[in-house]
Structures are given as structure tokens and as C-alpha cells.
């Protein structure tokens, strides 16, 4: 259908539209008009993706000079594929309605592992191996060697692309990963490099977060993307953690040992090259004296996305003399390594700031701050000069060089924690140096500064106002949308007591309490008897789950549960978990019924959807607080308090509640779906916890369902499940939660739609 959103003609490829989709598009349009950033929360299963795509594509067509590109960032490969499929549907609709052929180029980009078509390389199993092998076939000096030595293996897909691919742009259309591969095979071009090259002039790019947020990758891939782009981060409720991870470095003794070996190799190579081709090293030296001026020019003309690892000051200077020659640099790296090794030989935990660390390193091994900052650049240059083919082998030393650069660049926002052993195994020495980023805004800052509009969206972003604070940006729109429902298909219940009136909670003091564990067991047992098909239960951690399940086994509760349903357990092992998941779904499918015991923050809670019968009930045992004794977390909390005035408790609760919301949100994946959401902890009833749940869940928690006993829960659930089992047809939804074009134009509906969005 064709919609008129505040004067913009939007083609929407379905006959019906949800009211909240309409409202979402309105907000989105306002954000684009204002050329600002936005934070939008809309429940999953209400068609976020298609609303985003329809509106932004329409906007692109209407104002081609205002918005040139859409960059859609998603988390996983299946999600990327889903977005491309939606886009394809939209484009088909455009072609049908307007009759003109599509001039848009949209493509998905993923790693070499997913895109490679080279018969040998693509058969490798790990991403790193593929990258390394690819590099060894396509690096410039390898190809140069080919001229003198024709037996040198190279990748002919890349050669073809290099010879022809850049002149002829890829024809307009929608390309998912498989399409790219097919196109590459047909033409004999490398799909990966083709895609990387094509994103520069593509209208829509769909790829993973890391291509934009991880400075190491963003520098290679996303540097030259146009400024007038709209960037969308979908499923962005964990964006701060992604930012932090991309800037943090963990060094273990093993890393150091392997770096040591790397340095040896470097030294040998330098020695060898010196004998045969000294001119090359001289050439490099000359280049380093000139400094990184090129990069500087590029940044001033605003072509590049700035790299937070490479701060402005570095660009204006030449590489310091002390590490300019290759031998000196190797010597420098050796000293650095020795120093780090000595730091790891400790018996107690050390925590210090970057300046402290720099002072110490200066005193102990006379390494100045300046050369440290150039470490990453210098190493990259050296590797290039030495024509090292297997880059993957040098990842440890590269990591060290990144660490050196980061630690000397940022005096704020980072902390260094050296732990002699892990908390779980205090007897086994396993020293780790955590160089941990505490400020997610560092990594995302260049994105906000460079691009015209950045949209952060997810099903669970509540409370909305905390994201702009921790990511340090100023949004023009912040809205939360509810789900309009023809029948109340979600039933959030807060269970606070057992039948014996003992309060149930995963609070530290009571979590070992026999009565609490028994009550949790009874709750699951009772529910297993009344909920059909699948139940997903989330625990706060693996250890807690182990304890509880062991205790249930002793008490015989497990045996009783198994009479009703089969039990599957998520483990930290990915293969085991996917096996369990598969069997779980099978059991739900053929009517045996199953329970999946899993962990908040685990794989299941983040990426797996439990549609319809796969998840008729989700139980959240306890409040999934992050492990608060971790030193990294403590440091981060302190930083948040000092820098952003966010109280520790607020942040912890926020973090726990967003994960709880993620978990229970797994059950509802659309308006025809229904499911119970059971919060089994007394603390959920408190206003500070409840208030942080997404609005679309919160508004269905009535005051009467705040502190239920297990009995009451069972009664309410039974009633709910029977109600939901009554036939439900599309006609029942029409006009209420599903609109046709006619209905959309009526005044009354528009008024109702206006209430859906809640501005924060």
C-alpha cells in the first residue's frame, strides 16, 4: 500500500499495516528531517525492519541529495540475510507499483569466510584461517612476485576483479551473500573484494556492527562511506558492550609467549632482507620520516571516518626516531614484551590507570609515551615492508601493538587490571592483563560525529534515557512504542512467594536457601503441568543453574518434572547447546513437550527466537544481575559514576532488567503469538525494577499480579492459556491492531496512533 507520512510518499509492501509501524515511520521521518540521531524502541515481531527500510528508501528517493546511503547494522549473519530478504520484497513492490526498473544497489557484506569462492580457501573452517590464506594469495607483494616467478600461487578471482571489476560497477539490484557469491562465480570476480569496493557506491549496505564500531575493521572497510548516510543499529540493546569489547584488550601469558616468537621471526626476516635487499628498508625509513601526512590530509577533507585508535595528534607528527629503523623497533618491542612479562609475574591483583602504567614503564624500561603511540602504525608498516605472507600468525604481536597505542593515547576511560588467577580457580596461576575500556562512547563517537543520522533501535531499550548518557550523544527523538493488541497475548506475572509464603528471590543471601530452591522447583513443576509444548527457563548464571538443578535432583523435583516434559540444558559449549536446542524443538513439535533450562546473557537468551509453541512460557528465575565482584565491572561502575553521574545501582539494575526483558521477550514474536512471562523473584515487584522494563511489557503488569504465590500463578496461567487457545482470526485484529489503507486514513485511527509513541 502507499502511505502518506507527513508529506512523504512511502511504498509499503504489505496490504495491512500495524498502527505502531505507522507511528514508528513518523518518528523516523522526523529524525531524518532534523538530520539528528534517534533512539526508538518497538517490540519485536511488529515489523521494525520493514518499517525502517520502507521509510528510508522512500526518503532516499524523495530527497536523493539529503540522504545518499543507508547503512544497516545487524548482529548476526541470519539477521543480515533476513534484512536483505525484506528489502527484496520492498523492491519488488516498487517495481510492481511504479513499473520502472529498480536503480538501487543494495548489498550485504560479511567476512571472507562467508563470501569466499576460492575452492581451497573457502573450504577452511575458521574465519582467521580464511583471512590469512586469502592474504597470502592477494597481498600486493605476492602479486608483484608473480611477475618474476609465475609458479607463485595467487587467487585468480581477485586478479580478475582487480583487472576488471573496478571499472564496471556491479549492476543495480539486491544482493545477499549468496547472490554476491553467484555473481562472483559467474564473472570470476572475488565477491568479498567486490562487495567491499561496491559499498562505496551502494545505496544500501547491510553488515555487522563490527564493520563500523571495531576501529581495526572500520578503518579498512567503512572509512570512505559518505557523510550523508543514515546509520541504523538494529537490536542495539547491547551496543555499549560491543563498543567496549571492541576497544578492550586482554593479554595472557600465552599471548606474550607467542608474541615473543613473532618478534624472533621479525628479527630473522629483517636480517635476511638486509642481506639481499637493504634498499627496501631504507625506502620504508624515508616514508616514516615523512610521517602519516597522507592520512592527515584525507581526514581534513572529511573523507574518512576517523579511527579512534589513531588520534589526531599522531597524524601531524613523524614516527619518532627511536623506532624508525626496523632493528630499533624490534628491540623496542622486545623491551616492551619483557616489561609486560614482568608485570604478569605477580601474586596479587593490581589495578592502575593509564598514566600510572606509562610512568611505571618509563621508570622500569625507559619507554617513552610517544613511541608507544606509534607502535601499531609502525608494526603495520614493518609487516608490509617485510612482505610477511601469513598475517594470521602475527595476531598476538599486533594485539600487543594495539594495546601499546591505546594505553598511551587515552589517559581517561580505560583501566588496567592485572589478575594473577581467575576468581573461580584461585589455586591455578593464570595471570591476565585486562586493558579494559570503560567508556563506550569512545568507540562510537566517530560514528555519531561522522554520519548525519544514527538510529539506535531494538525491542528492548528501556529505560531509553540511559543510552544517550552512556554513549554520550544528543538524540533528536527518543520514543518507545507499544504493541497494539486485539487480545492481550502476553501475560507478565511476578511471582514473589511460594505456597508456603516464603519469599522467593535469587538475592545473594537467600539463594542457597533450601526453601527458595524448593519453591523455584515447585513453580517449574506446576507450570510444566499446565503449559503446553515448550517452556524456556532462564537462570542468572551457569553456576546458579548447576546448583539449583543438582538440588532439584536430590529433592526428586526433577523426576516429577520429567513426567510432564523433557528437560534440556544449555551449556557454555556452543555445539552442545545447539544440539539441545534442536532436540528441544523436536520435542515441542511432536507434542512431547519440553523445558529448556538456559542462562540469561547466554546464547539462547540473545539470538534464539521461541515462536509460538516453542515458547509458550518463559520463566525468569531471579534477577540477572551481572557478576558484581568482577574488578572490571567495579572499575566501570566507578567511571560511570564519576563521568556520567550514573549511580552504580541504577546501572546494575538497568543492565539486569534489559537482560531480563531480552529473555522474556523471546516468547512473543508477533501478534498472533502468545506466551506467559513469569518473573520469579520478589524484587521485580519493586517500582525501580518494574519501571525499567520496556513499556510494552510494563503496561500489561496489573497491580494484582505483582506478588503472586505459585498457586495463584497457576490459576492465572491456566485461565490465560485457555483464553488464548480460542480461535483467533485476522478479522478480529482488523481495525484494532491491523489496519488497511482505508482505516488508516480515518481521523479516529490517526488520533489513536498518535498515542502509541511515547516521547521520552
Amino acid at each position: 500500500m502507499k502511505l502518506n507520512i507527513e508529506g512523504l510518499l512511502v511504498y509499503f509492501p504489505y496490504d495491512y499495516i500495524y498502527p505502531e509501524q505507522y507511528s514508528y515511520m513518523q518518528e523516523l521521518k522526523r529524525t531524518l528531517d532534523a538530520k539528528g540521531h534517534g533512539v526508538l524502541e518497538m517490540p519485536s515481531g511488529t515489523g521494525k525492519t520493514i518499517s525502517l527500510l520502507s521509510l528510508i528508501v522512500a526518503y532516499q528517493r524523495a530527497y536523493p541529495l539529503e540522504v545518499t546511503k543507508l547503512i544497516y547494522c545487524s548482529r548476526t549473519v541470519p539477521e543480515i540475510e533476513k534484512v536483505v530478504e525484506e528489502l527484496r520484497k520492498l523492491m519488488e513492490f516498487y517495481a510492481k507499483e511504479t513499473g520502472e526498473t529498480n536503480k538501487l544497489l543494495a548489498l550485504a557484506l560479511s567476512s571472507r569466510k562467508n563470501l569466499c569462492v576460492h575452492p581451497e580457501v573457502s573450504s577452511l573452517r575458521f574465519g582467521k584461517e580464511v583471512d590469512g590464506k586469502c592474504h597470502s594469495l592477494t597481498a600486493s607483494y605476492i602479486r608483484a612476485q608473480r611477475h618474476s616467478n609465475p609458479s607463485q600461487p595467487i587467487c585468480h578471482f581477485f586478479e580478475e576483479f582487480d583487472a576488471l571489476g573496478r571499472q564496471v560497477p556491479i549492476p543495480p539490484g539486491i544482493y545477499n551473500l549468496d547472490d554476491l557469491k553467484a555473481f562472483g562465480r559467474r564473472k570470476g570476480w572475488c565477491p568479498y573484494y567486490l562487495a567491499r569496493y561496491s559499498i562505496l557506491h551502494a545505496n544500501i549496505v547491510v553488515y555487522s556492527y563490527h564493520y563500523l564500531l571495531d576501529p581495526k575493521i572500520a578503518d579498512l572497510v567503512s572509512k570512505e562511506l559518505a557523510k550523508k548516510s543514515v546509520v541504523v543499529f538494529d537490536e542495539a540493546h547491547n551496543i555499549d558492550n560491543v563498543c567496549i569489547d571492541s576497544m578492550s584488550v586482554n593479554l595472557t601469558r600465552r599471548t606474550l609467549d607467542r608474541s615473543q616468537a613473532n618478534v624472533e621471526t621479525l628479527q630473522n626476516t629483517i636480517q635476511r632482507i638486509k642481506e639481499i635487499d637493504a634498499a627496501k628498508l631504507k625506502e620504508e625509513y624515508r616514508r616514516l620520516v615523512e610521517g602519516l601526512k597522507e592520512a592527515n590530509v584525507a581526514r581534513e577533507t572529511d573523507i574518512y571516518l576517523s579511527n579512534p585508535v589513531l588520534p589526531d595528534e599522531i597524524l601531524q607528527e613523524a614516527v619518532p626516531g627511536s623506532i624508525r629503523t626496523a632493528e630499533h623497533f624490534v628491540g623496542f618491542m622486545k623491551r616492551l614484551l619483557e616489561y609486560l612479562k614482568s608485570r604478569l609475574r605477580i601474586q596479587h591483583v593490581v589495578q592502575e590507570s593509564s598514566p600510572q602504567f606509562l610512568k611505571d614503564i618509563y621508570e622500569k624500561v625507559c619507554i617513552d609515551r610517544k613511541p608507544l603511540r606509534f607502535c601499531a602504525e609502525r608494526l603495520r608498516s614493518l609487516l608490509r615492508t617485510l612482505e610477511i605472507t601469513d598475517i594470521a600468525d602475527f595476531s598476538p604481536i599486533t594485539l600487543i601493538s594495539h594495546f601499546a597505542t591505546l594505553v598511551s593515547t587515552y589517559s581517561k576511560g580505560f583501566t588496567i587490571i592485572i589478575e594473577p588467577f581467575e576468581d573461580k580457580t584461585p589455586t591455578i596461576a593464570n595471570p591476565v592483563l585486562h586493558f579494559s575500556c570503560m567508556d563506550p562512547s569512545i568507540a562510537i563517537k566517530p560514528v555519531f560525529e561522522r554520519f548525519q543520522s544514527v538510529i539506535i533501535t531494538s525491542g528492548t531499550l528501556s529505560p531509553l534515557d540511559i543510552y544517550p548518557r552512556i554513549l554520550d550523544f544528543r538524540p533528536v527523538t527518543m520514543s518507545s512504542f507499544t504493541m497494539t493488541l486485539a487480545r492481550t497475548c502476553l501475560c507478565p506475572l511476578i511471582v514473589g512467594r511460594g505456597n508456603d509464603q516464603v519469599a522467593i528471590s535469587s538475592k545473594f543471601e537467600t539463594r542457597e536457601d533450601f526453601a527458595v530452591i524448593r519453591n523455584y522447583g515447585n513453580l517449574l513443576l506446576e507450570l510444566s503441568g499446565i503449559v503446553p509444548d515448550g517452556i524456556v527457563a532462564f537462570f542468572t548464571s551457569y553456576i546458579y543453574m548447576e546448583n539449583i538443578v543438582a538440588s532439584w535432583y536430590e529433592q526428586g523435583i526433577l523426576e516429577n518434572i520429567q513426567r510432564n516434559k523433557l528437560i534440556f540444558i544449555e551449556t557454555p559449549d556452543a555445539a552442545e547447546t545447539s544440539m539441545a536446542l534442536e532436540k528441544y524443538q523436536e520435542a515441542c513439535e511432536n507434542g512431547r513437550g519440553a523445558i529448556l533450562l538456559s542462562v540469561a546473557r547466554g546464547k539462547v537468551s540473545e539470538g534464539i527466537d521461541f515462536v509460538h509453541h516453542y515458547g509458550r512460557a518463559v520463566i525468569m528465575f531471579g534477577v540477572p544481575y551481572v557478576y558484581t565482584q568482577s574488578r572490571i565491572l567495579k572499575a566501570r561502575l566507578e567511571y560511570l559514576r564519576d563521568q556520567f553521574q550514573i549511580r552504580e545501582n541504577d546501572f546494575l539494575t538497568f543492565d539486569a532488567m534489559r537482560h531480563a526483558a531480552q529473555c522474556v521477550g523471546r516468547a512473543i514474536r508477533g501478534k498472533t503469538d502468545y506466551g506467559l512471562m513469569i518473573f520469579a523473584d520478589k524484587r521485580y515487584a519493586r517500582a525501580d525494577k518494574r519501571g525499567k522494563l520496556p513499556r510494552w511489557i510494563q503496561e500489561h503488569i496489573s497491580d494484582g499480579s505483582l506478588n503472586l504465590t505459585i498457586d495463584e500463578t497457576v490459576q492465572l496461567s491456566k485461565h490465560f492459556l485457555r483464553q488464548m487457545a480460542q480461535p483467533f482470526r485476522r478479522e478480529d485484529q482488523l481495525g484494532l491492531s491491523l489496519l488497511t489503507l482505508d482505516q488508516l486514513q480515518s481521523e479516529e485511527t490517526l488520533q489513536r496512533i498518535a498515542q502509541i509513541a511515547q516521547q521520552v
Partner: protein
Amino acid sequence: MDEEPERTKRWEGGYERTWEVLKEDESGSLKATVEDILFKDKRKRVFENYGQVRLGMMRHLFVVIDTSRTMEDQDLKPNRLTSTLKLMEYFVDEYFDQNPISQIGIIITKNKRAEKLTDLAGEFSPRRITAVWLLKHFSDSFCAGSSISHGWPRLKQSVSNRHMPGHTSREVLVIFSSLTTCDPSNIYDLIKTLKGLKIRVSVIGLSAEVRVCTILTRETGGTYHVILDETHFRELLTFHVKPPPASSSSECSLIRMGFPQHAIASVSDQDSKPSFSMSHLDNSSGPGLTLGGYYCPQCRAKYTELPVECKVCGLTLVSAPHLARSFHHLFPMDAFQEMPLEEFEGERFCEACQGELKDKSVFICSVCSSAFCVECDLFIHDTLHCCPSCIHSQSTS
């Protein structure tokens, strides 16, 4: 209609939140919507059955009753099992009332196996089944799991044992209380087999919607309902009393039927000898020698009950009243027209019960244009099968 089930006493009910019923429902919240949907459903039933469709008049229905542990649940009073039994009595009565030339059989599943309680048979006393059943039931304790699929081999066996003419409908109605099934083999293969055999499976769930039942009923063309309470349960059962539309693939054939007369031999008559009924030859449980009975007009085999298919010559034996009772299904009454109450002009009293019309819509007979309330509309279509005011006007003219 007279035995409207008494509402359970407050203290017998489960945990109820009575105050919530009083809540106003303007936001389209649960209670109002679901009731609205149910109201529509009531009407739907009327609509659905009154098109010009072929109905499967000769039905072969197996009722599979799940008697697993979940039947002990007390959400129906006094518990699900007793309540189901009570309603089954009613159902069997109604079934034979409406489908006199059809047959019914009962299978119970428990302890992971299925037991055929009664084979397909014509009219029999429902009291008898219940008695037999109760006896059996209380001697065993409840079983652990339940299974639908264990019922099937049994069922298939009985269905295929008997020669089923192509014009009869084969139906299964499952009363499913548990939420799980244990299956020895893949249940989806079984669904395929059922589909191949053209057996229509309907399910009435007593607790919640189970995925596999949804698929089962969808594939075989049956219906799937979940009860809300006892009244709703009865409504759903009533729904199954009506013959379903025949599938287009079933054959049309002329059927030879015999109309045997009931010969009553008095004890005083010296010539009469007691003889065995053919239908009781193979099961020893039934009564043995009787004096009178129905004699097949073709081969003179004796039967004590009708309708039945003659075991000797294969003739279908019915009595004339049976056919007459099925007659109204062939010429169904047109559905009444629904009209919002505001638009209705005329006296706001139901033509049938004389009660005041208070619901939001009234129903108008398309022939005599008299108004009825929804309850009377249902009663007329379900039970009377003719419009009272039409008949009234006929007799006066």
C-alpha cells in the same frame, strides 16, 4: 436445555479474581474481546451448518477419551473425568437423537495404551457404557502419561476391520486432557496415514492448545477447540453432534436399506423360541437369548437393535423413524439475519420467549421477519429446526 449446569459454588471454585470481572473494558482488554469472539462463534456455528452442503449422514464416529492423570484435575467439578463422563452421556444421547443411522464407538487411552471400550455400534444405552467404564476405571489407578497416538493403531484396526462403505464419514473425536503425548513412532507419519484413510479427526482440549493437535486437526480437516469452562465444553460437544459436511471425495451411491419390523413374540406363544441376536455373537458380554427382535427382510437374521448392518447379507437395517429424524439435516433452515438492536424497529420482545431484547443484535427470520434473541435463535436452529412463527402463520391461513 432444562439441565443448564449449575454454577459451581464460590468456595468450590479455584482461585478467582472476582473483582477483575467488574473492570470496565473499554481498552479492548481480554475479557470483553474473548466474550465477543465467543458470541461470534455461537453465530458462526449457525451459519456454517446452514449452507447447501452435502452432509455426511451416515457417520462412524470414534470418541477417544484421554484418561491420564490430568483427568484428576479439579478445574471442572468435581473433576475432569466425572464431568467428562456426565457430558459424554449427554453427548451420546444427543448424537443418536440427531444421527439415528450413525454409529459410535468409544476408546479410552491410558497408561500409554489404548483400550476399546465399545466397538462401533448403533443405538445402545449410554448408561451402560458409563457403568462399564466406571467399573474399569476405578479398579485401575490412574496412569502416568497419556498418548493420543497409542489410540490410533487400535482405531485403525477397528476401522479397517469393518468394511466401511464409501459414503459414510469416518470421524474421530478426541477428548484430550493431557498436554503431552508419547508416541512409539513419528506422529507425523500417523497424521499422513489418517489423511490417506480420510479419517477426520477433531480434538477438544481440556487444558490448553497443543501444537501437535493443531496440526493433526488441520491436516485431517477436523476442528480443534479448547474449553473455557463446563458450559463451553458442552457447547463444543454439541457442535460435534451435527453431521459435518461430507468431503467431496466421498462416493455418492444408492444404498439398499432394509426396514425390518419388530416382531414381538409373547412368552405364551408356544411356537416362539428364544434365539441369539447376530450382533451379540462375537461378544460374550451382551445378553444371550431373547425372544423377539428385528428380522432382516432379506435373510431373516435376527438383531436386537437398529440401525445395524446385517452380518449375513450386508444390508443396512434401519427403521423409518430413524430416517425421518435425520431428515431435517437435508433441508436445513436458513440462518436468521443479524441486525443491530438500534436499527431494529418494532417491539423489543423476542417472538419466541417473549423476553426483552437486550443484546446488541437481534435475529430476524428471513421468511416471516419475526425477531428473536440470540438464545432462541440457537434453540430454534439447534433443536426445533423450524421457525415457530412461520408455523404459526401457516396454521392460521
